[in-house]
Subunit: 163 residues, 6 copies
Amino acid sequence: MAFNHRDEHVDDHMLIVQANLDDMNPEWMSYLMDQLFDVGANDVYVVPIIMKRGRPGLMLNVLIDEELIAQVEEIIFRESTTLGIRYLHASCHRLAREFERVDTPWGLLTVKVGYHNGKLVQFAPEFKECEQVAKSHHIPLKMVYEEVRMRFNQQMQKNAQPE
Amino acid sequence: MAFNHRDEHVDDHMLIVQANLDDMNPEWMSYLMDQLFDVGANDVYVVPIIMKRGRPGLMLNVLIDEELIAQVEEIIFRESTTLGIRYLHASCHRLAREFERVDTPWGLLTVKVGYHNGKLVQFAPEFKECEQVAKSHHIPLKMVYEEVRMRFNQQMQKNAQPE
Amino acid sequence: MAFNHRDEHVDDHMLIVQANLDDMNPEWMSYLMDQLFDVGANDVYVVPIIMKRGRPGLMLNVLIDEELIAQVEEIIFRESTTLGIRYLHASCHRLAREFERVDTPWGLLTVKVGYHNGKLVQFAPEFKECEQVAKSHHIPLKMVYEEVRMRFNQQMQKNAQPE
Amino acid sequence: MAFNHRDEHVDDHMLIVQANLDDMNPEWMSYLMDQLFDVGANDVYVVPIIMKRGRPGLMLNVLIDEELIAQVEEIIFRESTTLGIRYLHASCHRLAREFERVDTPWGLLTVKVGYHNGKLVQFAPEFKECEQVAKSHHIPLKMVYEEVRMRFNQQMQKNAQPE
Amino acid sequence: MAFNHRDEHVDDHMLIVQANLDDMNPEWMSYLMDQLFDVGANDVYVVPIIMKRGRPGLMLNVLIDEELIAQVEEIIFRESTTLGIRYLHASCHRLAREFERVDTPWGLLTVKVGYHNGKLVQFAPEFKECEQVAKSHHIPLKMVYEEVRMRFNQQMQKNAQPE
Amino acid sequence: MAFNHRDEHVDDHMLIVQANLDDMNPEWMSYLMDQLFDVGANDVYVVPIIMKRGRPGLMLNVLIDEELIAQVEEIIFRESTTLGIRYLHASCHRLAREFERVDTPWGLLTVKVGYHNGKLVQFAPEFKECEQVAKSHHIPLKMVYEEVRMRFNQQMQKNAQPE
């Protein structure tokens, strides 16, 4: 049933790139984040902080492979207002991931599954698909999630049983 | 020893004025806050929020007497980027306040005291004075506070004893 | 199966009591919150804010019935460092609530259910019970929740079917 | 040049609807916010808070006209996990707003303008349009804003001069 | 009087383990934090962040000795919903710590003391003990702290004097 | 016109020093931050966090050159309440910076300019100077910024043209 696979691994060549922004129009943040994801950032997130003279600021964080550093710096300098960035070395441990298809009243829907040491430890319905179902079928989003999770659980239990 | 007094009271004519800011240079916030205090705002504070399209924003809050509303709105529209403000009616319960003078190794220092139903419930050294002592005497600020609080407590105990 | 019931209603006699704290040991906050819940506060929550001179502060919020105001003020003045509190009038709309018992591999567990206009819109396993099961049975807490939710859903579907 | 107009006014029939969420999948928040904007909410924003037992939570805030209360409650109960909501009465002061068209190297772009007592106090390029220009012309978004603001200023100064 | 001692030192074999959580029931966080402390984490703390698509999220941080990494990862994967964690190398400088006993009206109470280069720089009453005294003696918690601090100061001054 | 210059560079000998504070009077934070800037910290910022037992805390961050570590630790231990600090190695990429003087209706004002690979990517009016102009001339601060930015842009365009 799986159509995608990626082994569990630790990547020791990651960087966390950070920039503190205290004089930027916050409206621009989503555009900046989009551009960073577009060049391959693994994650981008923003932390509300208090800066010099008690100024409310935002700390941009970008998790990337070392090889992306020049590209990412270029985007941050071009699209934000910062005069400097900093980066720290990090290691990323990523679970093996598969995408399972689950049969639901609204068709086949995807569940992202995570394995640690070969054992299923995470599963999560895909947000975009569930949102689409909720909208088009006028069902509360939380009920779509509930149903997909139940179906996935039942499918797992069935597969686990000896014939 | 008291040189100032104000009775405990409830003021039912207060407003909380709010504006959500998602496209303003955060550098300007301190200037805006200063101006609001200058016209008599009782308090001004800022709350980090998440706005439309996931934008990081800041909610400005200004606590004022109803009579100040026009002045305060004028400042917010002039110094921020908002197209609208909102306000809510509130009541403020303020303790009776006195300023006591405490004898310390660095001279007389002020302690702000709060009374609820005639009973002392709060006391706090004045930040600005303690900061000044810490700087000029090269003493940790926390030790200045510690000493002022101890002296105030001893003074209170002495005053409470019958002669 | 229900052992508790409370009708959906709107309560127009609620207050939100607020105090901005910028000079209090944050360690004391949990004790203050506990005391407020003990006298009957409906909710207590804390908002990180930026105050005068850029100081990081905490805004305490207490949601109470109007009748509790004197008691709650007394606690806040006694256990915090504030010289003033403010309050705003609010209305609370509360769902009808029932507690259902669900049969699980670890015994009967409670699910809190909420009804809006007679229709089930919320259900949530009780945290304390699930935590207890997770601890004593060495099962991930999220799996306990998953199981309780599945069992509750199945129970609901069975009850909904005609005999 | 204006193609839209709305007078400055104060609306005294507004509500701030709030719900504290401590057991909801945060992924669902954007969907909930979209639905609230769709039925006519004036603003929707989220405040990170600390709740009972130190739980990290989110306070949903919805600014609406009183008439929307039933619709908004229905959405919150349907799409979030809360068992209760609260609301406070508020007044909104909204500036007169016009949309001006500004001639730029990338065609006519819109600037939203705000007037307080007949005087221009705010103007802001429309984010969506500027983002589109930045993307299609490969120009930093901040430079698009800069150019639009300059052009708007020059246009204003020209209009202000006697012929 | 001291019954515990630990030398000031720098530990260069520490890790900060981080996971960004945007789809987890926040109710589970306290349970996760408890489990991490139970296996020996030096500190666990949570940072409110804004993630992809403007989602409100929580960044879990766990400060540990390198040797604990496998155990800590296992707990995070088991009890949270994340598909990946990251870690950074850090050095910890810890003060020499002693626990002093202070004679108070409510019995002997503990004060944690910190020494930097052999000089006392920190002291703090133990929260749990003070909370217990506040509860059982119906005294404001802040007054218990005040008294314990005063007594500790007086004890220190007495010990410092030559006989 | 430039009166200051500093080449773009990467500094690999930086540290981020962190301390989690959950029992400190937040009033003292600004004093602590001032002292850290005084000894040469490149940046100091504060992150609101949730700590053990759900306590609201503050994470202090100090960005420094490695050589400052002893001095910075001494200040943190002296002026805060922490029993430990941690630090991480970081690299800082700083743009080439120049200070340009811009002719405005209120005299010459400074604009800080940043260059990446020899290309101007940032420019920002100096806050302190603009604030001073706004105060003494009774002009909205945002209009001072607007004017300085326009003048700077025009000056750049003029300089870019061949004679």
